[in-house]
Symmetry: C2
């Protein structure tokens, strides 16, 4: 396989004001990078598109360094080794790594994780067995601490994280209610085994509609969105409820601007409830545990997943814009080059 | 000692709209209650006045039944037994119990806790060794989980709860910063050993003024007030910060009305911080532990406390109104009858 002499990559052209637009990203052609001692050249197959990327390009101080204009966009990738000078990696190996929005990338061997396509489809390494799946697993189990019989409500329920959260909660004997936008997404989460789904776009009174399918109140709210949806769920929380703050996507296009809402302190107090922020990178050391557990559930058919794949690196900006608007249906991926395992 | 044939009590006359006013309460004269088998008649010496009382008269659904118009106001009391038909209680014994806003009350023996005046001044049974002190002890240690070196910020720092929180945090090796209203209260908490105090009434930029005395950020925020003060502290929280929601007094006169503020989800997420509601009644079974610990610290001179005593049951409404406006200076008590131990 010849890779040619040029690679493509997206850099941040300008910090988006509000919702990103395609012109905030610039596709560049650069000379094919050359791996040196200890490094490998990887052809990217799948690029993962995730909501956190909006924060990285916002210029806001946050939990990690952002992307400045002129820098290559960050992102998790699955690819195939083209040339290796890294121990343990050979041409043809499939790997996962934080390679960014690129057609090809060079990385040190220790930054690449070798995948066995016999274990699971390679795309899952950035999905159900990657960052989103590990987010679901650790945030639900470690922060939420579900008990059989608990009612668990999940926003963005058909998304990369939400769909996995709900299935793990079901395995743990919980009643699971998903919040999603539109009848197709709601039907999908019901197919996954959720006990109920509420279409927030169709609802005129979300708290009432949720209340109707949460007759015993809400013990765990897995919050991927923040905003008005959070406010509605907060009206239903039980004594000792746990609210897992995993994402605030409703605000991602307005980061740093005021995000006024009702205060929830009184309700937290009266219910002795806990609202806690979660970031999966705190659990990197436990990924092997999470992958083993979720991987086993996939093999047993107890966890299913849905991917939303767009074709071609050039569509990455459009994919991110869509994710921020909730237009994706399942885990958003960009297929940057053909997947030889399929 | 003759108690006469009549007792006095305050009933709720009307649900307050906004801040309570004296006419929301009605002082009644009733026949002296008569204890039956298993009961004791108690002459009230101290009535405790606490912010939670505003919630009880609001008509809002909350963690416990409220006071309806016409019902006697609830409240913790210290008193002396006048007549006993209860096992283990004799005339002259000092007791603590939830007797309400009354000059005299009859209660079953098991609802009264006998006090030994040699252990501590009897007034402390509703203060530093009672509900407020136990709130400080369990909320700080169990929810806040302080570690030596942590920076702990406390609002309403000179109040019944706040003053104890700060001293326990100091014993645990924390840096302690109090927020209080006015120079006298700030001077008082510094005298108690707080490392710094910030006068929120004098501050033009509370987050900046707090930041100046919290050079390493805030690890624990013990929140008695909610509102704008909470918002300011939230700007300073550290990774894995704990925000203990113990009270929201800024909102008590507007319970049930909208309380808009900035949303804190994003900051909780980025800092993987935890915001958790606390109610001391969950810890009733551990009060003996808390009283033993705090009692020992008082005897060792490591915990001091300040009481604000007004004279006469007729002043109870005024005392509550003052507490809700922050006019009290230390634990608010009403002396309903003379304290024979002083």
């Amino acid at each position: 396989m010849s890779e040619g002499t040029e690679a493509r990559q997206f850099v941040l052209a300008a910090r988006p004001q509000g919702a990103p637009k395609p012109s905030d990203f610039r596709l560049e052609t650069v000379p094919m990078p050359q791996p040196r001692h200890g490094e490998a050249l990887v052809r990217v197959i799948y690029l993962s598109i995730d909501p956190y990327m909006r924060g990285r390009i916002s210029g806001m101080k946050s939990y990690t360094k952002g992307v400045d204009p002129g820098e290559v966009m960050v992102g998790g990738c699955v690819g195939q080794v083209v040339e290796s000078h890294a121990p343990g990696l050979a041409r043809g190996d499939f790997v996962e790594g934080a390679l960014g929005w690129r057609s090809h990338a060079v990385a040190p061997g220790h930054m690449l994780r070798k995948l066995d396509p016999a274990d699971a489809p390679i795309s899952t390494a950035v999905g159900v067995l990657g960052m989103p799946g590990m987010t679901a697993y650790f945030a639900l189990l470690d922060v939420g601490r579900p008990r059989a019989g608990d009612t668990v409500v999940i926003s963005a329920a058909s998304g990369a994280v939400g769909q996995v959260v709900g299935q793990i909660a079901r395995i743990g004997g919980c009643r699971v209610v998903g919040i999603a936008g539109g009848p197709k997404k709601c039907a999908f989460v019901r197919e996954l085994g959720f006990d109920a789904a509420v279409d927030y776009k169709a609802s005129k009174d979300l708290a009432a509609d949720l209340g109707a399918v949460c007759p015993n109140g809400v013990d765990i709210y897995f919050d991927n969105v923040g905003g008005d949806v959070q406010d509605a769920v907060m009206e239903l929380i039980n004594l000792k409820a746990r609210i897992i703050i995993c994402g605030t996507i409703s605000n991602y296009n307005r980061l740093g601007q005021p995000d006024p809402g009702p205060r929830h302190s009184r309700r937290l107090l009266a219910n002795r409830a806990r609202m806690e922020g979660f970031l999966v990178f705190d659990y990197l050391h436990r990924y092997p545990e999470g992958r083993a557990r979720v991987g086993a559930w996939i093999k047993e058919g107890r966890i299913k997943y849905r991917e939303d794949v767009v074709e071609g690196l050039e569509r990455a900006p459009e994919a991110l814009i869509g994710v921020l608007e909730g237009r994706n249906f399942g885990k958003q991926l960009v297929r940057v080059s053909p997947d030889p395992t399929r």
